[in-house]
């Protein structure tokens, strides 16, 4: 027998335990350590982006108060805030962080299939982050082209960071994509090849499904960003005219001829829209597992949930031009993209109904992860509904350049995934660290974040209807806006500063927990999925000790009638589960 199924290999055969500090925590090939490295890096860089958003809000809420914010800085803040949050925080955290931690543990594998490649993926990601951060410090500063980096503005004189800033941005993106590809190939292969015995595809927890399909999307969509980044680098450094039209900039003719800025938009959004779902699908999956576990009830419509994820993933590739209505297009195209955009709401709505129906008559435990999950349902419905407005060409045109859009995408793509990130961290923290955190502090963190973000983004919808333009450094003479618009803006800024400060509670709680938190139970939430059934707590290198688990049931056997416990772990055989009195 020369072939041994990968998942069946012996612990000793394949996994040499790391023994030095360096191999254990720095150049680690263990998926759990890599996940934590990804997570910490992403959160740290996310904190920078959070700081930038506060600076931005200070200018908007109290214009002319802060002399250190000039228009150039402001545009740099906006650009870097958006880029970091979408790519370097959310994408990296959901796939590099949670993907790395959860896929092998939930599928019952010892590690990723290619641990070395996995390690390389993290260090390449770190390199992309360092290049990104370096762009703050080069001459001219980081790019201020807006996170979509539209040409010709992005590489025309007058835009902040037009020299080195934009080059570093594009190089950093290219390096990030290389890192993601290395990680992504690993996630796909591990899900397909290294599941333990009995773990059929349809027994996988929805978290794994979400991460898996998001990875497929990422692998197919990130090349579009790579292509646009490379072509823009050509335009910038080699003076080609892929995107750059014949423009005269500040009285000078830079020598470009007839390129197409719209071409860039197509490439960018061909990546950009799937990117929304690269972030959203893992969040969908994770939230499904959290709701089911803390409501002690099987997920409603599991098979429908899986197929909704797959269908959303497929559809996400044919809606991209709804980001380009204001760029102008053939009305038939507009009609097509509006239609596909509205169709994608159907599987998404199915998911929302199923989450709510999972809660229906559940035995709901309002613990911290559950609070964040329910909060997510609110913000996601909210942001999703405004998406239906904006998906229509005629409604999008007047609203597209206003705060309505800012409110929409922050609700649906900012607040919602971040609530899931927090929920997931609170949920898996005991497994990752072996420690518990302070529940009360966690609940305060939730309520202040949840209500605070509503205080930020709800008023923005009204500002948008009133016609307050987004992207502006200062309003200037806008007679059509009532004075109260500025009052509202000031209130939003106060809420934003409040919410940003509230995040301290999270860090205090987690640092306290690490230092002196009480030891947690191996399975504190009585969850069924495999990661809670590891022989060691927290799981050691190789995850499963000597024997791999065998899976006998799906991930949602909660409150099964006739059994003693209200949960049956996936690795408990049919005849092994303790039968209750009523049986």
């Amino acid at each position: 027998m020369s072939y041994v199924a990968f998942a069946d290999r012996d612990h000793e055969q394949d996994h040499h335990d790391p023994d030095t500090f360096i191999t254990k925590y720095v150049w680690s090939q263990d998926h759990k350590v890599i996940a934590i490295q990804y997570g910490i890096t992403a959160i740290l860089v996310g904190l920078i982006a959070l700081g930038l958003s506060v600076l931005m809000r200070l200018q908007l809420g109290f214009p002319n108060e802060y002399s250190f914010i000039n228009p150039e800085n402001y545009y740099q803040f906006v650009t870097m805030h958006g880029m970091i949050m979408v790519i370097y925080l959310l994408t990296a955290l959901f796939l590099g962080g949670f993907g790395n931690y959860l896929i092998p543990l939930m599928c019952g594998s010892r590690d990723m299939v290619f641990p070395y490649l996995n390690m390389l993926s993290y260090w390449t990601y770190l390199l992309s982050v360092i290049i990104l951060i370096a762009s703050f410090f080069v001459e001219g500063g980081s790019t201020g082209a807006g996170w979509t980096l539209y040409p010709p503005q992005a590489i025309s004189p007058g835009t902040p960071g037009v020299d080195l800033g934009i080059i570093l941005m594009l190089v950093s993106l290219a390096v990030f994509i290389v890192a993601f590809t290395m990680g992504g190939l690993n996630y796909i292969t591990t899900v397909l090849q290294a599941r333990c015995k009995g773990m059929t595809l349809m027994r996988m927890p929805l978290s794994v499904w979400g991460i898996f399909i998001a990875t497929v999307l990422g692998l197919l969509a990130f090349p579009a960003l790579l292509v646009s980044a490379i072509m823009m680098l050509f335009d910038k450094t080699l003076m080609t005219s892929f995107f750059m039209p014949a423009v005269s900039s500040m009285g000078v003719d830079p020598g470009y001829t007839g390129g197409s800025p719209i071409l860039f938009q197509h490439l960018f959004w061909f990546f950009g829209h799937p990117e929304v779902y690269i972030v959203a699908l893992p969040a969908f999956g994770i939230v499904s597992d959290l709701l089911s576990t803390h409501a002690r009830k099987n997920i409603f419509g599991y098979r429908m949930m899986v197929w909704a994820i797959i269908v959303i993933g497929g559809l996400s590739f044919i809606v991209w031009a709804h980001h380009m209505y204001v760029s102008g297009m053939n009305p038939y195209f507009g009609f097509f993209f509006a239609t596909t955009t509205l169709i994608i709401a159907v599987p998404t709505a199915i998911k929302v109904y199923n989450w709510v129906l999972t809660l229906w008559q559940g035995n709901i435990h309002l613990r911290v992860p559950m609070l964040f999950s329910i909060g997510f349902i609110f913000t996601f419905i909210h942001g999703g509904l405004t998406g239906l407005f904006l998906g229509n060409v005629t409604i999008d045109l007047p609203l597209s350049d206003t705060y309505f859009v800012v409110a929409h995408f922050h609700m649906v793509m900012g607040v919602s995934p971040v609530l899931v990130v927090f929920g997931a961290i609170y949920h898996w923290w005991p497994k990752i660290t072996g420690k518990m955190y302070n529940e009360t502090l966690g609940k305060w963190h939730f309520w202040m974040t949840f209500l605070g973000t509503y205080a930020i983004y709800l008023p923005m919808h009204y500002l948008g209807f009133a016609g307050v333009p987004r992207r502006y450094f200062a309003m200037g003479n806008t007679d059509f806006l009532p004075d109260s618009a500025q009052d509202l803006n000031a209130a939003i800024t106060i809420s934003a500063v409040f919410v940003a400060a509230t995040q301290l509670l999270f860090f205090i709680n987690m640092i306290w927990s690490l230092k002196s938190g009480p030891k947690s139970d191996p399975n504190p939430w009585d969850a069924t999925t495999l990661e809670w059934q590891t022989p060691d707590h927290p799981p050691k290198h190789g995850n499963w000790g000597h024997e791999l688990p065998e899976v006998h049931r799906w991930a949602y056997d909660y409150s099964v009638p006739g059994y003693e416990d209200d949960f049956i772990p996936q690795n408990v055989a049919a005849d092994k589960a303790p039968v209750g009195e009523g049986h």
């Binding site: 199924a5 290619f114 190939l185 090849q193 027994r203 090349p223 292509v227 599991y302």
Partner: protein
């Protein structure tokens, strides 16, 4: 974007078809005997097959990359300032070299599978030399273009020519890295025949893939 969409539709249809078979009739909430199939992926659960799957996935990523450049090519071509580029004749020879390299690699692979050790060394070395020759030939074609005043910024068609050939060459160099590792292992007389055979098998697939990509690119460049 039609090229990218057609390509994507093929990839997604393949994936969906496979998922459909796996998932449609499953009723995961019902208990059933543990299926032994479960941990054998679509091609069986060995590490060999895992590497094959990773390679196939990477080829999908690379195809997506090239399909998107081709989409951009098609869109950009329609604008007024496009002047078709006359490709250097040398490309024909390079193409022939790459075809021969693929054939020799296939021959080497067959030898590796059947354990005909004596063929491995010449096979590996000839393949590598031919492939390096292709990359060098591409580079010379660049030089010829440059010397005739066809710079990267002269026209968008030139820009695309350098971009496409450069991107393709980088993918080839990546393949050559794996080839070099396997060859060095073999020449150094490492006993890891399994590992070398595996590398050769996977490299052969990758070589054929890059040949097909090149033929598509070359055909497009010639016809426009």
């Amino acid at each position: 974007m039609t090229v990218a969409l057609v390509f994507l539709a093929i990839i997604l249809a393949t994936l969906l078809g496979w998922l459909f078979k796996q998932t449609l009739n499953a009723a995961p909430w019902e208990m059933e005997a543990v299926s032994d199939l479960a941990h054998h992926g679509p091609l069986g659960g060995t590490i060999d097959k895992s590497k094959l799957i990773a390679l196939l996935a990477f080829m999908a990523v690379a195809s997506s990359f090239f399909a998107l450049i081709l989409s951009a090519y098609a869109l950009r071509m329609e604008l007024g300032d496009w002047v078709p580029l006359t490709e250097p004749q040398l490309l024909w020879m390079n193409t022939a070299i790459l075809i021969v390299a693929s054939i020799v690699f296939q021959w080497t692979r067959n030898a590796a599978i059947n354990d005909w050790q004596s063929r491995l060394k010449p096979g590996l070395i000839i393949t590598g030399a031919l492939t390096l020759g292709f990359v060098l030939g591409q580079f010379i074609a660049w030089q010829q273009l440059q010397n005739s005043g066809q710079l990267v910024s002269s026209n968008p068609s030139n820009g695309f020519f350098y971009l496409l050939t450069g991107a393709h060459a980088i993918h080839i160099l990546g393949g050559l890295y794996v080839w070099a590792r396997a060859t060095l292992k073999f020449v150094a007389g490492s006993g890891d025949t399994e590992g070398i055979r595996r590398s050769i098998e996977l490299c052969t697939i990758y070589w054929h893939f890059l040949l097909i990509v090149w033929l598509v690119l070359f055909g497009l460049l010639l016809s426009t």
